[in-house]
């Protein structure tokens, strides 16, 4: 074999390796080499590379002639990535970093609600589920009525922000309810020493004369490594989901009806979980952007037993269980432990 021929062989063999080992890879390589020899091409064209990379995933997933198997594998990968990313984020998010002590909370109360003596503190060391079925961050919080009338919500909160900044707190986003110039509630956020302070100033009614209340809570800020853990967990889950689809595809290849049902179930599972996945991804991007979420519960809330998110995912979980049962009931094809073909793309076989 001349050096040019050997180089061409190596390049096409590398491209053919996108396909799984076996006769198909070998005959694809043979065909591409024959085309290349006929046309005098020394390396795969861009069109050939794209063509092989477009079709190889189907072969890798065990359904070389099926156009649907790659989109289905992508859906399963996304779903699997969502689950593993959430679990990875939870592993990072459940830490024992201390919440503010009573003395520290009293000092914070003096900054944000001066005049409130001995605020009625509620303490939850770890994530908990409130009465509405929502997972909430572990936190120290209190709620008190306005001690004195607050005629101008914005002016009052601006003073609170100034005092927090002077005490070393880093001010975060502010959200409000009502019209921009006639607000009925404002929520300030500020961070310091790994804590997130949320200060809410709420009017009872539209008019300030109706009175109102303050809501103050301090929770642990999301761990710095959590976004990376979430992404790494998601990536690992996606890879796992992809291989899982390939395994299920091969196991059910002799069962066309079961394959059709499984494809439908994968689409249903993806559809029913899409709103939750979208919400979690948006939350994740917020954390990446500003270091914490404005939600009252962690990004992985749905993994907490009793949280409403788990209820919202009930159809997805049900569909997944049914799909797993179908895969388990399908007998794999005979001879699924394939022998290595006598002729393949091993270098020594080409002359």
């Amino acid at each position: 074999m001349s050096p040019a021929t050997a180089a061409r062989y190596r390049r096409y063999r590398l491209l053919a390796r996108a396909y799984p080992p076996g006769p198909r890879r070998a005959e694809l390589l043979d065909t591409m080499l024959m085309v290349a020899e006929d046309t005098g091409r020394r390396r795969p064209s861009a069109r050939e590379v794209v063509n092989v990379l477009r079709h190889a995933p189907r072969a890798r997933l065990g359904r070389p002639g099926n156009r649907l198997v790659v989109p289905i594998a992508a859906l399963v990968a996304i779903l699997s990535g969502f689950v593993s990313a959430s679990l990875a984020a939870r592993a990072y998010g459940e830490s024992d970093r201390p919440l503010p002590s009573t003395a520290q909370m009293t000092a914070i109360a003096n900054l944000v609600t001066p005049g409130v003596e001995d605020p009625p503190l509620q303490r939850h060391e770890q994530v908990f589920v409130n009465g509405n079925g929502e997972a909430q961050f572990g936190q120290v919080r209190y709620q008190v009525d306005h001690v004195t009338p607050v005629p101008d919500l914005r002016a009052y909160d601006a003073e609170v922000a100034d005092r927090l900044a002077a005490d070393g707190w880093r001010l975060g986003p502010l959200v409000y309810s009502g019209h921009a110039d006639q607000r009925t509630a404002e929520f300030l956020t500020a961070t310091k020493d790994g804590w997130l302070l949320t200060f809410g100033n709420v009017y009872q009614a539209l008019e300030p004369e109706g009175g109102g209340w303050f809501e103050v809570s301090v929770r642990r800020i999301e761990p710095a490594g959590m976004p990376v853990g979430f992404a790494a967990g998601g990536l690992a889950g996606m890879v796992l989901g992809w291989f899982l689809t390939g395994w299920a595809s091969r196991r059910t290849e002799q069962h066309p009806q079961a394959s059709g049902v499984l494809a439908l179930l994968a689409i249903i599972a993806a559809g029913t979980s899409a709103p939750m996945i979208s919400s979690v991804v948006q939350d994740y991007l917020t954390i990446v952007d500003q270091g914490f979420t404005l939600h009252e519960g962690p990004i992985w809330s749905w993994t907490v037993p009793g949280d409403e998110g788990l209820l919202l995912l009930a159809p997805t979980i049900l569909v997944t269980v049914v799909a797993a049962a179908i895969v388990a009931l399908c007998r794999p094809p005979h001879g699924s432990h394939r022998r290595r073909p006598a002729t393949d793309d091993r270098p020594g076989l080409a002359t």
Binding site: E27, D30, T31, L33, M34, H55, G65, G348
Partner: protein
């Protein structure tokens, strides 16, 4: 039936062919209009084999490289014949309507449906 599928089946009518043989024959039969790439060809052959329209005729090892020959099955021949008749009917219909519009062929009125 998609055009590449039609040409692949047609290329296998007269004799079994290996992958490159099919590519060459499709290019020739289609007047160069359809040029199959290898991965596209094998995806189509896999699909056609699963539908029972083609099957492996034999395998050869040439210079240590695997070469499989594919042939048309009876079902494949029947499917191609049905497709050919369907296309013929379309062509005949289009020709009939076009003939009616040609100058000197009578009033240019065509009834559709």
């Amino acid at each position: 039936m998609r055009e590449p599928t039609f040409w692949i089946l047609t290329a296998l009518v007269d004799q079994p062919r290996h992958g490159y043989g099919v590519i060459q024959q499709v290019t020739k039969l289609s007047g160069g209009e359809t040029r199959l790439l290898a991965a596209t060809l094998y995806a189509a052959l896999d699909r056609l084999a699963a539908e029972g329209l083609v099957e492996v005729d034999r395998e050869e090892a040439v210079d240590g490289r695997l070469r499989r020959y594919y042939r048309l099955t009876d079902s494949g021949g029947a499917a191609l014949a049905a497709e050919t008749q369907r296309l013929s009917r379309k062509v005949a219909t289009a020709n009939r309507l076009l003939d009616a519009l040609r100058p000197g062929a009578g009033p240019a009125t065509v009834a559709f449906g």
